[in-house]
Symmetry: C3
Subunit: 179 residues, 3 copies
């Protein structure tokens, strides 16, 4: 972590190792400067796959981590749990976006609120997100709409982030590094 307030976006495909890579960034920072860290899961309660994922994250992570589950109010959770020097891992933006769409929220408004919050975080934040636009155009309209919104969200966060990393097969390609 080059800065106390760095915002890092880690994008990649399904099972690309992006979450483990993002955790590794924070673990490395914690070795240099021990302290607490927050795992902010955007899981819907009752999602079996996400429950398994959170359990995997718990087992993989050290004891310093606190887990927070927040499917919709990511902005509020960032405000409540961001502390100076304490890194926050948001996993993941794509699931948050999906939850917002299911709940009928206004995506541009929510995106703008997130960006605003990220501009004034008190500690480093690492956000994990899926890249979903590199396949064939989906047949169904909802999937196309989701793909468009996911691309726009990634662009908006990437534009204000200090660091952006594309992960494939567990390995990073640096897209941006202003840190």
């Amino acid at each position: 972590m080059d800065s106390d307030k760095a915002v890092t976006l880690v994008i990649g495909g399904a099972r690309s190792g992006k979450s483990a890579y993002a955790e590794g960034l924070i673990e490395t920072a914690l070795e240099a400067a021990p302290g607490p860290a927050v795992y902010l899961a955007t899981a819907e309660a009752g999602d079996d796959e996400m429950a398994a994922r959170i359990a995997l994250h718990r087992s993989r992570r050290g004891a310093r981590w606190t887990t927070v589950e927040e499917p919709l109010d990511l902005v509020g959770a960032l405000a409540a749990h961001g502390k100076p020097g304490a890194p926050v891992l948001v996993d993941c933006l794509t699931l948050w976006l999906s939850n917002l769409m299911v709940a009928g929220r206004d995506i541009p408004v929510e995106t703008a609120r997130l960006i605003e919050q990220l501009r004034c975080v008190s500690g480093p934040v690492i956000l994990v997100s899926n890249e979903v636009g590199l396949g064939i155009v989906p047949d169904n309209a909802l999937a196309r709409s989701f793909r468009d919104e996911a691309g726009r969200l990634n662009q908006a966060v990437a534009a204000m982030a200090t660091r952006v990393v594309f992960v494939a097969a567990g390995l990073p390609l640096i897209l941006k590094n202003d840190g």
Copy 2:
């Protein structure tokens, strides 16, 4: 633009910011050497989404741009509108390919004609194209065929281009730079 005749290929996913990135390359060149530019849209007349896209491009671009719409005869349009020193933005190759397939054209022949034309352009050309092969194999045969043709087209243009850029989340990764 390093050269008057540079050919640049910008590839990326849906909503990856590839078109805005390509426009930015030309806008930067126009600041250094003011002059006209051509936006060559491969839209089918009557496509609402493309009409919206062209309108968005118009609003984003400066007054120096001329818009040309040509769904099939991209080669002829390049020959007619390419002028020494005047950059042309082709948006996008993937839609052109789709139009060719719907019209029953011979794709290898059309690809060869495009490559030939790109070898003798009189001004810089930037071509935008989708990467569509990084998802699961599509169920339907037409989508598989399209995916194959799109990959081959990208490879053929990339092989002769002076510069190739992969865009993700609005940020570039340079794949080739011979300029």
Copy 3:
């Protein structure tokens, strides 16, 4: 080939040029140090598309290549055909994984056996694999499961490989180079 025992993973989308790139790595090595090479195709007998692909590979390659077809026992084939100084091209891991799943094999066990075999190869091995996780979440459960397994397999091989390359439009991005 920097080392006699280098393991290289080449990943990319459909029709990204990854197989031709991988062949090119070996052809370059053979120019420096002439000798035999093995093309290990993971094709199921009777697959027309794969038969065409193998025929294409044959026509593209020089006379030094031996072709071995092995849909399931990739580990055994690597043990049998790997010779000191003789490069082996495995094309591709994704098809092998698909064959294993159809045959009901235990994927983690097979992956562990492959990794173990790759650690003790006697000559350089280049493995080609598809990245399939960068599109929208597939509708059907089998496709989702395949996508997960393919991502895990790529990560496992990438973690032990000396070199990992992402290919798009026929052009390489280096993800790892310990060679």
